[in-house]
Subunit: 701 residues, 2 copies
């Protein structure tokens, strides 16, 4: 039976229907020696060890029972519509797709998800797409993620009344044209111009040089009808700096670019290939003066400029929303990678010479050490993002009342979390990929796409190095101020805490961990400040010279925030979840403080005693043993459908090896070769055959 199964003719696996798991033996993964459990049985056994109910945790992650149901329904509907609901059918994305086909597939998915939201009145796909990448991974997604929020932020009431219904009803598709070839993070360096022509009451949008070409905006290439273009506003020869303008870029009749506009795609990227990040070149394109987005700044017919004195603060506050989305989404993308790696680790067995039966690789220390500490980081990101988002909502309310006092604080938190969370998620996802060994290198493992997608978040919407700089500037400003900001109060008091008295189990107490993290942050912030003060040169030079120390201090401040947010989330959780969440909280921070495999620990080893560090490492081992049975449940809780991961390694049933063969046989290259007697025709005729022939005669063997 086993033999028949593997030797099954390919024809039988050639369609979704015939690859129904029922039609093949359930014992496919049985091994001839010593291994009696199939992969699905190993999976079930690993799942059943959980000490808690993962669906309870799902409610916390997704935001309540109702949100879970809404999300499940939406995913089920769109997966049916996209034809990705059969886990034995090769997902379309692993077909033979080239650049153009990938974009068409993105358009197909975009239309289904956007329509589902409109038809069923939900915003499930406003922030993420059907595969949990950010929603701007498909061409219509940017409208909800950025275009509409920017309209709401920057339009005056008449403009909003005109544009918002058009965008929300899908009568126009929007993009946001800020980044240029020559400038990204440094917005003040943008060079596109918008020059007022008083005679015609129009702005003239123009690209004056190659570095000024708009390059990178999502959906700009071949999908959007309108864009918000960011340009230097010039009136009577005077440069008023960066402003936002709305402009139509394509005809709604035949979709051709409007006169004077060149549009195109940027080709393949590491990920996000379902959308058309594109370029635009403007050759003196005229738009009505009233297309300057005018909530906080106006230009009258005669060219008089007026701006709200708080304009920058208000715009900046509003723009933090995009960062908030990226932070939250990075938790989900890391969790997605970990769901795949955890499930695979539960069903792949591997021996070593000294062990008679082959255990699941999950049982190896370095495997579950990396998996479980990474899982704890995914939760840390999620809870930090929830906390930061709550603070952000309060800021928006306060700003609406005219109170901008907390803007610098919220801005700093969002910058720091953006850097910390995306970097942690990107590195963690890549580590999860490596934890799947060679199989993680397969595109159809789903992991390369997740890794590449979250890696993108490290450089876009503010490159992370720049983000850290914003945090360290806040800290140095705080140090120089007459009184420390509230969130930096620990800098005065850290010498008072009795750190040296703690040992052993004391480090299981979150309050003690807070003291440890405060102590470390206070040291690093103080050291960085002293280094700055010791410099004779300009502030800019001093900051550059000590950039490493500043970044490390910024990191320590943010990691303290993350610890506090985690503690708050655990306190607020139902009591049934408190034991497992507490274990995650502790292991996550013991790892940051004492793991010899993480860069952060070097700043702890300089003040914790060897005995304290050794206690922390022993406790880590204790917590690993406690958490190991929960590994599968802790990833199940994120509630990813098989189709949304598209991973041959990570489906819920654990039937990995059989699925690899079923999907592999469905690959177009193999289907085509089978139609040709098992030969890649062009390869044989054009290259291999002639090469073999060159030796003179074919070898006779």
């Amino acid at each position: 039976m086993r033999l028949m199964d593997v030797q099954t003719s390919h024809a039988q696996h050639n369609t979704a229907q015939s690859s129904d798991p029922q039609s093949t033996s359930a014992s496919s993964s049985a091994r001839p020696v010593a291994q009696s459990l199939t992969q699905p049985m190993l999976m079930e056994r690993a799942r059943n060890q959980a000490t808690f109910d993962s669906s309870l945790l799902t409610e916390i992650i997704v935001g309540g029972k109702e949100a879970v149901a809404r999300q499940n329904d939406a995913f089920a509907r769109i997966e049916k519509a996209l034809g990705t609901d059969d886990p034995w059918k090769l997902p379309p994305r692993y077909g033979n797709m080239d650049r153009e086909e990938m974009l068409l597939e993105g358009l197909r998915a975009a239309r289904v998800t956007v329509n589902d939201g409109m038809d069923h009145g939900h915003k499930v796909f406003y922030q993420c797409n059907h595969e949990w990448a950010l929603s701007n991974a498909n061409p219509f997604g940017l409208t909800g993620l950025l275009f509409i929020p920017m309209l709401k932020l920057q339009c005056n009431p008449e403009q909003l009344a005109h544009w918002l219904p058009l965008a929300e009803s899908g009568m126009i598709i929007g993009s946001y044209a800020q980044t240029e070839l020559g400038h990204g993070s440094f917005v003040a360096g943008l060079q596109t111009t918008a020059t007022l022509d008083k005679g015609s009451d129009e702005f003239v949008i123009h690209t004056p040089s190659i570095p000024a070409v708009k390059y990178w905006p999502g959906a700009l290439g071949y999908a959007s009808t309108h864009t918000i273009v960011i340009a230097r506003m010039i009136i009577d020869g005077k440069d008023y700096g960066i402003h936002s303008f709305i402009m139509q870029i394509r005809s709604l009749e035949d979709f051709k670019p409007l006169p004077g506009i060149e549009l195109g795609d940027m080709g393949l990227k590491m990920a996000y290939n379902g959308t058309d990040n594109g370029y635009a070149i403007f050759n003196h394109v005229r738009i009505p003066r009233t297309h300057l987005l005018s909530r906080y700044n106006t230009v009258s017919e005669n060219g008089t400029y007026h701006a709200d004195p708080l304009r920058e603060k208000l715009l900046y506050g509003g723009m933090l929303g995009a960062r908030s989305t990226i932070i939250r989404n990075s938790a989900f993308q890391l969790a997605q990678a970990l769901t795949i790696a955890t499930r695979y680790s539960a069903v792949r067995v591997q021996g070593q010479r000294s062990i008679p039966n082959e255990p699941a690789i999950m049982s190896y220390k370095l495997q579950h050490y990396r998996l479980l500490t990474l899982i704890s980081k995914a939760y840390a990101i999620l809870f930090a993002s929830m906390s930061a988002n709550a603070t952000y909502q309060k800021l928006l309310e306060a700003q609406a009342r005219g109170d901008h006092g907390s803007l610098p604080y919220v801005h700093m938190i969002m910058a720091g979390l953006k850097a910390w969370c995306t970097q942690t998620a990107a590195d963690g996802a890549e580590d999860a990929r490596k934890l799947c060994g060679g199989q993680g290198y397969l595109t159809m493992s789903g992991l390369p796409e997740i890794v590449a997608s979250v890696a993108g978040c490290c450089t876009f919407e503010g490159e992370n190095t720049v983000m850290w700089k914003q945090v360290s500037r806040y800290l140095m400003k705080g140090m120089a101020a007459p009184a420390l900001p509230l969130d930096m109060a620990y800098v005065c008091s850290y010498m008072d805490t009795p750190l040296s008295t703690y040992d052993g189990d004391a480090f299981l107490n979150p309050a003690v961990l807070v003291q440890v993290f405060e102590h470390r942050a206070a040291r690093l912030v103080t050291e960085a400040y002293e280094l700055l003060c010791s410099e004779q040169g300009s502030a800019v030079t001093a900051e550059n010279t000590h950039a490493v120390a500043l970044q490390v201090a910024a990191r320590a401040h943010i990691e303290l925030y993350i610890l506090r947010a985690f503690i708050a989330a655990v306190s607020a959780a139902p009591s049934a979840l408190q034991p497992v969440l507490t274990n995650l909280l502790i292991i996550s921070h013991l790892h940051t403080a004492s793991s010899p495999l993480t860069p952060t620990s070097s700043s702890f080893t300089s003040f914790l005693t060897p005995s304290q560090l050794s206690a922390m490492r022993s406790l880590t081992n204790v917590l690993l043993a406690r958490l190991l049975p929960d590994a599968v449940a802790l990833t199940d809780a994120w509630n990813f459908s098989d189709a949304s991961m598209g991973s041959v390694l990570g489906c819920r049933d654990g039937d990995v090896y059989k699925r690899i063969m079923v999907w592999t046989r469905q690959l177009p290259i193999n289907v085509h070769a089978r139609e040709n007697g098992g030969v890649l025709r062009e390869g044989w005729e054009e290259y291999i055959g002639p090469f073999l022939g060159e030796g003179g005669v074919r070898a006779k063997l």
Copy 2:
């Protein structure tokens, strides 16, 4: 002029010829404000600052003046033949290629490179391909990289006389079928069987289960005529373990798989898509008994088995060659990524609010800190690989004389360097990618392919976690032995060194660094050994419990080896290069020891005093300033042709932004859209048009 340039009609950029840089303005990258230097001028200025002659260094890297000339000639010839020699023409690999087209492109390149080697009698492409990936990145490459070395290692004289000429003359194409779906690194777990049928004097090769399917071997899918298959040899019902057999898998007449063999491709991978990593299923396939590779083991007609008592040692020794190649190549791939990032950093300018003129991003501390320390690591890998390879050659000579004494040592060094070098190169290449900001995310930056390619080396030919385990076992065995092995002698003596007396400039002395690294390794090895000894359970359990401490100790031992190899290489270098190489040597190891951004430093902060660490960090700043002018020359020295990198960011001339637009306009998706009035026809007709129409009527704006 500038304006005309950017507004140039796309037609003009549509062919290689018309994108001749002479036909567009040289001032393309000029900025309207304050910036008068073009990108090529910035590049030239940065290159001219070098304090040494980079061509001298090239000779060390490549292996002498003659080798440089041979390499340059070979690359020039094949780039001409492949049509990639014009840096203004979009490289074929960024065309609209799907899975099948990528493989065909790989076959095309393979034929050109292999033929060039045969026609001109060189082995330039035996280890790397035309883009500096390992040569098994193309389908014929495995023959030289693995198939021929394995024949040489495992064939008896008659077998060698038969097979070697066929392989070397290109009359057969080989692959090496070891890895199965269920087992990779744990070779003893492989399940394919080779059962002797005495009646017919044949072995029957068979795949007994799904996990036993051969999966991953390069060139197995659609390119090789023969394979060396690794299988459990069964004679009279007795399992003799893993042996190697040569078998023909495809007809040389029509290339069809031979009866009983199913072959296919694995679909897209993160990289190596020019080759056909494939799968094979054998259904009782018969091969002559004489196809058992029989240098160290024989089976007679009546089924009598005989093996050389040293068989395993001899085979293992021979197989270390593949690791040696991977280690060396990882230096080149990291250097390739750094060449791109360094050149881009020299020509991208970016301001900040407080600086009037925009400086090249290279001048920012965190940029050149990361670049220069990574450059130092590329050299560290190269010198370590040279040293290890010399030791390996000595082992082979000794083994030929029957002396296997140094096998455990060489095996340990190769395992540790494989893990350290591939991980350092993969992380470093990814960091280089991030140093290019958003542009590094573009496929045509060349960086995603390099990152993915070197990342693959972390999991193949021995997963790195397994590699570290081999090092730590050697160390623990050494600790338990009556006398320490020579390379571990420092473990006894480290307490005698006057470490606490060093400060300030002392750390510029390589001999002092050796003491520091010895001290650290001795501590970590001793700690790990004590942890193991303190455990009551089995050795396997103890090893698993303390896997983290063991890995850290292994790393410290290998980093000491790397330091020593670097010192030896500097001593052997021409005196003109000694200053710059010494600076690299020192900064590389100060970084390992004291950077707060690297995980390694935590094991130093626990015994170096704050004042010593602070001295090391100040010296790092001093060395950065010394090395900054040499950054471009230090990457130029690796001698990569523009075509071999295929990077729009990294061409030698530095003309980045102009080239981005020239290549972008040549992308097939844009060419096709232009033919259709600037519209992606199918996207508009099938998805966007209907979507916009759904709102009822089209918007009238």
